[in-house]
């Protein structure tokens, strides 16, 4: 087990992402952040807080993708997690999806489907804390906290103080 990001590094990475979102979209007037539960939702809130300091208040919500997963049959049924779309909606907005780890890309594929149920944004962007590679779909992130090369058998654990009591990212060796 190796810690690849500590609390300070996570904070700086998220702050940098907030700056990049602001720059890339020429301000935040049309931006909506949607975190993918569980940890993406907390990251979305944190980025929104940073954006608030940098550029002003930005609508933030959550988007559960469980019903759109393509691996439902591989595991026992999962409880649905909250979907909270900001009252401003997503129609015509620049939606930034926020997740903790980008791996195969299947979660994001499901998120794009779930988003399609709700409305038609002007653009959809992706922010992740960690990109560990091994994509199985043509998906890339617009904002990356840290690229961490891994082997497929390793796993990446993101801990956030909101539910895990501390901030850190670790790599665990495969079985």
């Amino acid at each position: 087990m190796a810690t690849v990001l500590d609390a300070g590094e996570i904070g700086r990475a998220l702050k940098r992402i907030a700056h990049e979102i602001n720059e890339h979209n020429h301000g935040i007037e049309n931006v909506v952040l949607l975190g993918i539960p569980t940890r993406g939702a907390f990251l979305g809130n944190r980025i929104a807080t940073f954006l608030g300091e940098i550029a002003g208040s930005v609508p933030v919500g959550t988007l559960d993708i469980t019903l759109h997963r393509d691996d439902l049959r591989l595991r026992p049924p999962r409880p649905l997690l909250p979907t909270n779309i900001p009252t401003s909606g997503i129609e015509g907005k620049d939606v930034v999806l926020v997740d903790d780890v980008l791996f195969s890309g299947r979660t994001i594929r499901a998120a794009l489907d779930a988003l399609g149920e709700i409305g038609r944004p002007r653009s959809v962007q992706l922010a992740v804390l960690v990109d560990r590679g091994h994509r199985e779909l043509p998906i890339r992130a617009d904002y990356v906290g840290k690229n961490i090369p891994t082997s497929a058998s390793e796993s990446v654990r993101v801990h956030l103080s909101e539910i895990d009591g501390e901030d850190s990212v670790e790599i665990l060796a495969g079985a």
Partner: protein, 317 residues
């Protein structure tokens, strides 16, 4: 809940709340123009109805379709099926068709459990009403409706006072609701003439009253059951008028309820017998919400049963 939903007893309180929570999340997605969710794509849900019940069948059908399941409606009315043997034959046909879930409505108590236990099929079985036994999805949608009207309840219904009025003896809705509401902590009172109360009610963890007016004073939820007029022919009560006077919800009784109280009915209603038209249409009535919540609950149940890895049940001959 394991592989089947046959009785409320198949659910722990946590699992029941999980279903209500899932339905809540689904309701947020369903607000506005609802597209199909891909969740159960490629799965086959069979509605096997041995009794007519258009509203229940449609509710399950739209739930399954919203989750992109393939739906087959199989109607086999009791009249054409004199021997239970045909339940077995029908089940084996469904097995051959590759059903993943069978939603069964049957006039015989225990038919759903027989289907599940018999080894005739490997599909998940959902009880959509079996004789005078249970109707678990009705109880779940009722609990969901109650919670939506009393949002403080969340996962614990203690403090909630519920009265269920009418033909308890023959009501599968009452049995499932008693099991679920008491499991969630609510205090339940059954109100009916003694002829319509089962002898085993002592074991039900409920209060029983023969007097409507004294028993409903402080209830939060008043659940009226359908009373079938053939019960009168069997002398369960002397006349419709006498029943209505003693146990019907007329406008005076409606007005005597607490301001915050709600009135429920599983439908179809006998207006003028167990409930007056004014009561059925009053602002306290949540009958229409019950209907629309039915789809959400059935989606949630289908998701819980079919939304994960397939169970590997052995099928015996």
């Amino acid at each position: 809940m394991d592989k089947h939903l046959l009785s409320i007893n198949d659910l722990s309180a946590d699992e029941a709340i999980q279903i209500l929570n899932t339905a809540s999340e689904l309701s947020k997605i369903s607000d506005g123009p609802m597209k199909k969710l891909p969740t159960l794509r490629g799965r086959t849900v069979v509605n096997l109805f041995f009794e007519d019940s258009t509203r229940t069948r449609i509710s399950f059908e739209s739930a399954a379709k919203r989750l992109s399941a393939d739906v087959i409606n199989f109607s086999a009315k009791d009249s054409s099926v004199s021997k239970g043997e045909s339940l077995k034959d029908t089940a084996q046909t469904l097995q051959a068709m590759g059903a993943d879930a069978v939603v069964i409505r049957h006039g015989a108590s225990g038919a759903a459990q027989r289907l599940a236990d018999s080894g005739w099929i490997s599909a998940s079985v959902i009880n959509a009403g079996d004789g005078t036994h249970e109707h678990p999805t009705q109880a779940l949608l009722d609990a969901y409706t109650i919670r939506s009207k009393f949002p403080d309840l969340k996962s614990d219904f203690s403090g909630l006072k519920v009265a269920i009025v009418g033909d308890i003896l023959h009501s599968r809705v009452a049995r499932s609701n008693v099991l679920l509401l008491t499991k969630l902590g609510a205090k339940v009172t059954l109100i009916a003439p003694p002829t319509l109360i089962p002898v085993g009610v002592v074991d039900w963890n409920v209060d029983v009253s023969y007097d409507f007016d004294s028993a409903v004073k402080d209830v939060d939820v008043l659940m009226m059951l359908r009373v079938q007029s053939e019960r009168m022919a069997d002398s369960f009560f002397p006349s419709e008028r006498e029943y209505s006077r003693g146990y019907g919800l007329d406008i005076a009784r409606l007005n005597s309820l607490k301001e915050s109280a709600i009135v429920m009915h599983p439908g179809p209603m006998n207006r003028g017998l167990e409930i007056s038209a004014e009561s059925a249409d009053s602002h306290k009535s949540v009958v229409l919400a019950q209907v629309s919540n039915g789809v959400l609950i059935r989606m949630a149940v289908l998701y819980q049963l079919l939304g994960g890895a397939a169970f590997t049940g052995e099928v015996s001959a």
